[in-house]
Symmetry: C2
Subunit: 332 residues, 2 copies
């Protein structure tokens, strides 16, 4: 069946409320789930809901958390998410953070004690729509082996970037620092598919294409070998070290059976490009995009998502059994 | 023969002065060349000097440039390098930039109209030694093909990161967003070696291991496929779009035969981690490093360089013919 975006949002919010989130927090988290489903980021859409529900059941996350925001320095905001979802802290910080970025030219948010189980691009896209450059990184529980190590220490530690354009919606992308995101491996296991060579290793450190072997004691590999690993390391420093959050290897989610999120941190950087590059900045980004298209690049970051978003204006296709499960979960 | 670091610095500075740099600028650029040679970053050490000399002979760079520094916003400095070397602009901005970062918690430098032909890590290491987190990116002339394109648009666009540690020198790394840096391909051509598969393509876009085919009309490939390409794209936006500098595809060095540098931009971000994470920040980085070593990672970023630096306390080994060439070049 086909559901309007707004109707799906209401339904997902009800599911989350029934699982133990406050209405405010449920609306914020539902936005990220539905945005991902709408834009075809399937691994972070409705597919994630069972993970949210299991996590809430485990008692690991406070669904009613009210974040506390403090000014650490004129250009630095800190958020303690109080063991709630990171997006709730970001929502609370958004307005002062934007004001700081406009006033000073640049500002950052350092969130700790936060759970992030969603796609990362919805966190930055609104800032670029408001004319700002936005960069964010989060860390997660240990999931990759790197630098020749035998055990997982660093997380899949994604990074997202958004910048305004002149003649179209912002350029926005996000990506895990593993070859593929953990969510893709979860999907492969559910679908009974193998993953490509080079994605992960088993518990003995041997290459494997079996998603279950990667997920059960094995590990993911960083994209681009040691170069991706250094990016993951930098993200661990920014998202956890700088924010006062937990490193991936300090996460205690394993103590809460069923929990699928990490208590970790998020770093969000905003820059007002008009202060240095003038009003022509967005047009300059257009020129860069144009040069790439002229060189034959048919698909650039966010092209696919915007195309799928446009198609979803007519509603989002949902399998009948998924819809029935949503209704049942919303009923609590 | 073996030369003390300080003696090599003086000699390289004399070579650069003879090639047309002011004494001030020569000392700054010589520092980066000798630091790279000392730390075993061979592709950016003495190996680069002929490139500097050819570039100066071409008339493409102003060796006497005096950068202009302006305050674009409370947290944003701009530098116009006046068609000189980027490090000269960074040196001029260093003191106010550090003060801004300490006062506001964060500050950035946006340099345009600048040539950067050196390793990137010497730009950030001193900030981390002073207790700050430092991140920098530069763009370069078009050198990689990405996103399925047929022509080069983005540069090799390196990124460097440095952060303080408690029980040792800073963690510092830099890396090109190509699989290997352009300098490594130049070295392979000079040595008559092939490069590994996956490093680059020839003029027809076909994979090749011939460094000459990559350098003469071919292209480098981004590390980690499209994930590395998005990093290169972000760097192009930050280093050129945000700074008001030239994109790689706008570089005009080809009009100056022999020129090997690009007129491009640099973005430098400083964060004072003590403002958010307190005095314990450096110790937290130590804990992360310790966790990686415990997991079996024997070599982490900058380990190799610091070991080679320690070895160079007894002097730097230089081939006799290289020394003779340096003396000849210093004589003008």
């Amino acid at each position: 069946m086909r559901l309007a975006v707004a109707a799906l949002h209401d339904l997902v919010a009800r599911v989350l409320t029934a699982s133990g989130l406050s209405e405010t927090n449920a609306a914020i988290v539902a936005h990220t789930v539905v945005a991902a489903e709408r834009d075809g980021t399937v691994s972070h859409g409705l597919f994630r809901l069972p993970g949210y529900l299991a996590t809430m059941r485990s008692g690991w996350v406070d669904g009613h958390a009210v974040p506390t925001i403090t000014q650490a320095a004129p250009a630095l905001l800190m958020a303690d998410a109080r063991n709630g979802f990171a997006q709730v802290a970001l929502a609370a910080a958004r307005e002062p953070l934007c004001t700081m970025a406009r006033d000073l030219g640049m500002a950052a948010l350092c969130t700790s004690n936060a759970h992030h189980f969603a796609a990362l691009w919805p966190d930055v896209e609104p800032f670029a729509e408001a004319g700002l450059i936005a960069l964010t990184v989060i860390n997660s529980r240990s999931r990759i082996v790197a630098f020749g190590g035998r055990r997982k220490v660093l997380g899949t530690n994604p990074i997202a970037f958004a910048c305004p354009r002149g003649d179209g919606p912002p350029m926005v992308w996000d990506q895990a620092t593993s070859v593929v995101a953990q969510g893709e491996v979860l999907r492969a296991r559910q679908a009974g598919h193998a993953v490509p060579q080079g994605v992960g290793v088993d518990v003995a450190g041997q290459p494997t294409v079996d998603p279950a072997a990667i997920l059960d004691g094995g590990a993911l590999l960083p994209f681009g070998g040691h170069k991706g690993a250094t990016i993951a390391l930098m993200i661990e420093v920014l998202a956890a070290g700088l924010t006062g959050g937990r490193f991936g290897f300090e996460d205690r989610s394993a103590d809460y059976p069923g929990a699928q999120t990490s208590n970790a941190g998020q770093f969000v950087l905003l820059i007002d490009p008009v202060r240095t590059a003038g009003a022509g900045f967005a047009g300059r980004v257009d020129a860069l995009v144009e040069a790439l298209r002229d060189a034959g690049s048919e698909r650039l970051p966010s092209d696919g998502r915007y195309a799928r978003r446009a198609a979803a204006m007519d509603g989002i296709e949902i399998a009948d059994d998924v819809y029935a499960a949503l209704l049942a979960a919303a009923a609590g």
